[in-house]
Amino acid sequence: MFINYGLNQIDLKIVYYGPGFSGKTTNLEWAHNNIDPSLRSDILNLKTKEDRTIFFDFMQFEVGKIKGLTPKFNLYTVPGQDIYTVSRKIILNGVDGIIYVADSGEDRMRDNLFTLIDLVKNLRANKHQVEEFPIIFQYNKRDLPRALPVATLRKTLNRFNAPEFEACAMKGEGVFESLKTAIELVVNRVTKLV
């Protein structure tokens, strides 16, 4: 969180977290393609030749001035693959809220859980109280023929009773709902922290 009284501006950082191939970059790309270009930056993709996120994706967007204050939202994704543990730690520096993108595929539960444990460990290492931290769960790829029931995903992953959404990010379903809720959680938290 960055508060600049010189410009009366507040910058907030939201990170899409989740296992590889769960759809974090797809979420960000959908948002980028559907937000008015005058309100958002270009999207930054740091990808390998195989189209996998190597470091992070980034986009900034704003909603204009409200009652004299300009809120800006910096959206990042982390690389989901196991080998990028250090990258994920770096990107969590200064984070204000998390959108955890889980893959609904029945063969991905282990990856979902391991990445969640990795997230909790990294947040705790930064002294965040995970139970009170703004986090939402997005159960992505609901259109998969062998998608696990939401109740199963909830029971295994959403131990914080956090807001949750079903999504099919490829079609844009659930993308904006997740983002809007995450922003509102983060903004509500500002009042308790500042």
Binding site: M1, F2, I3, N4, Y5, G6, L7, N8, I10, D11, K13, A31, N34, I35, D36, L39, S41, D42, L44, L46, F55, F56, F58, Q60, F61, V63, G64, I66, K67, G68, L69, P71, N74, Y76, V86, I90, N93, G94, V95, D96, N126, K127, H128, Q129, E132, F133, F176, E177, L179, K180, T181, I183, E184, V187, N188, R189, V190, T191, L193, V194
Partner: protein
């Protein structure tokens, strides 16, 4: 100006006096060195203040990438047991080059310059001077008087306001595609 809240959330706050002070230092550097862009960023990728000819969108992207670069070299230093880290980085291009230098543990300076208009030597020498000036501005604890010069009320009060939240929600609906079902 950088605080950790009880729950670990990192907050950076610049008073109006600090922001104006930093902006003046950067403006002076930009004018004196004839660089293209000079920017003060933090390790999480935020562009705190800048001077130069690049639109604000690109400034944000540049700051984000520079922070990633900066963080990556900190890890490289760690791997090779370089305890003091790599405080300075230089990326040399045919037309433009980028020089990055640490200001404090959390903040660094990014300078983009053209070899046709200035020299690396000049940038490097002037950076030493400007880093000391920025450290002095950042070290100043905002006095009550400074805070009175900020735009009031405080951000927390502005956000903790029903009208603000309703307006934010309505704009998000409009930007992100209609109210939630």
């Amino acid at each position: 100006m950088t605080n950790l809240a009880a729950d670990g959330t990192k907050q950076i706050t610049l008073s109006k006096v600090q922001f104006d002070g930093i902006s003046a230092v950067l403006k002076g550097f930009y004018k004196n060195t004839k660089c293209g862009v000079v920017m003060l960023s933090d390790e999480s990728g935020l562009a705190l203040a800048q001077s130069g000819r690049l639109d604000s969108d690109k400034m944000s992207l540049l700051s984000t990438l520079a922070a990633g670069n900066y963080a990556a070299t900190v890890q490289m230093a760690y791997l090779v047991d370089e305890e003091s880290g790599f405080k300075k980085q230089f990326h040399e291009g045919k037309n433009y080059s980028i020089y990055i230098t640490g200001v404090t543990e959390s903040f660094f300076l990014v300078v983009v310059f053209s070899q046709e208009k200035t020299t690396f030597g000049m940038i490097r020498v002037m950076c030493e001077k400007v880093v000391a000036e920025l450290q002095a501005v950042l070290a100043k604890i905002p006095s009550e008087n400074d805070e009175l010069k900020t735009i009031q009320p405080a951000v927390s009060e502005q956000i903790d306001d029903e009208e603000f939240r309703e307006e934010l929600s309505s704009r998000l609906d409009s930007i992100l595609g209609g109210p939630l079902k």
